[in-house]
Symmetry: C2
Amino acid sequence: MAKAEDIESVTAQTGRPLGPRALKTRERLMDATAELLEERSLLDISVVDIARKVGTSPATFYHYFKDVEEVTVHLADRAADEMPAVLDLIDGSWEGDAGLARARNIVDAFISHWDTHHAVLQLRNLGADRGDKRFIRIRRDALGPVLDRFAEQISEAQKAGHLPASLHPYIAAAALGSILERLSAYHKELTHFGASREDVVETCAILIFRTLTGTNS
Amino acid sequence: MAKAEDIESVTAQTGRPLGPRALKTRERLMDATAELLEERSLLDISVVDIARKVGTSPATFYHYFKDVEEVTVHLADRAADEMPAVLDLIDGSWEGDAGLARARNIVDAFISHWDTHHAVLQLRNLGADRGDKRFIRIRRDALGPVLDRFAEQISEAQKAGHLPASLHPYIAAAALGSILERLSAYHKELTHFGASREDVVETCAILIFRTLTGTNS
DNA sequence: TGTACATCAGTGAACGCGCGTTCACTGATGTAC
DNA sequence: TGTACATCAGTGAACGCGCGTTCACTGATGTAC
């Protein structure tokens, strides 16, 4: 759970728990890192940069984090805390128009989520693909519930004979997750091809709806 | 075209064209960078590292490249040269079983492509998502023809009434590209969930086939 | 075929900068009585 | 309510390392005659 990890991890490097003032400083260091990540690559962000941005000394940084990468891990954790909002949308029926509307809302929430945390989520996935356990866990915790629900629904559709049995439910669910992630990550580029954000939402929603239910409408 | 860019770009930093010996050195620098990228992040790769690996001096590096990032741009270009192999698979009919078989071959080729160039392709996409024109161009050149063909096929299926008109053909095509890229990028992780590479290929192929043709089989 | 010269390719060594990191310290906040 | 003390939080200043980068130079290869 992202939350449990957060609480656990909110200690100084020495292992001591943090008071309210310290928590605020830690927060500001994380915010500053997130802001820097918006404007340039992790490659070009140093401990000194972050400290300078917060108006503090590098020594302070080391009270809270081992290095810059560790900050990004916690940023990814923080971003994951928003996912429950998406989860609220996912439960319920996928029948007919309600299902399609549900798909639209999920896509919309996903795109917003990525617009807000683009740099961090991108780093999370990069880290996870590289095999970093920390990022793998964070991604799994964030996406897992969504994919599980997708897979479940796909299984049902298979049983009803609406989808071929040779489809692997979990992989198909992961495929839908891929669409959500990738298109959220670069939907702005797609607008150069005369596609609006609504087009992205609508098309994405249809694909998800069709894949979850096997219906043709 | 990747090739044109390559020829154009094979000059020393001074702009002078390179002889055969120099080309070989440049090649070795690129190879070394690619190898280093396999084992660690771009963050931890310096000009000195690359030079050391090739057994040459940092000064040599600067004859050919401005910095490490520039090498990655050329590596992405080089990886793109392999895409025509995928393109060969894409033309032809999508009718019935032949279509599904075609989809399987494409997915297979994609996964292999990513397995070979994982680190570089990941960096390419990261750079493109960040808005870097060089990487955007390389990705567009590599994926464009595939997506164009997908979009065309989707349009046809729409005209035949097999797919809803509200689907935006190009976005749907981009969605399929997302599946290919994302699942190729982390299909190894999926095997932990009891899914083999063949499962990934099969499931992915079905989704592509269904989305391109609108058929339910 | 040999010699002289031009150009190509590669390098040793050095410079300086800026970053990561740490330590001994100061100032701020809370708490006991 | 005030004072003394303990703990929390933050920092100034410094160190050293390793990297990026460059320059003047050497060695390798090609070419003219």
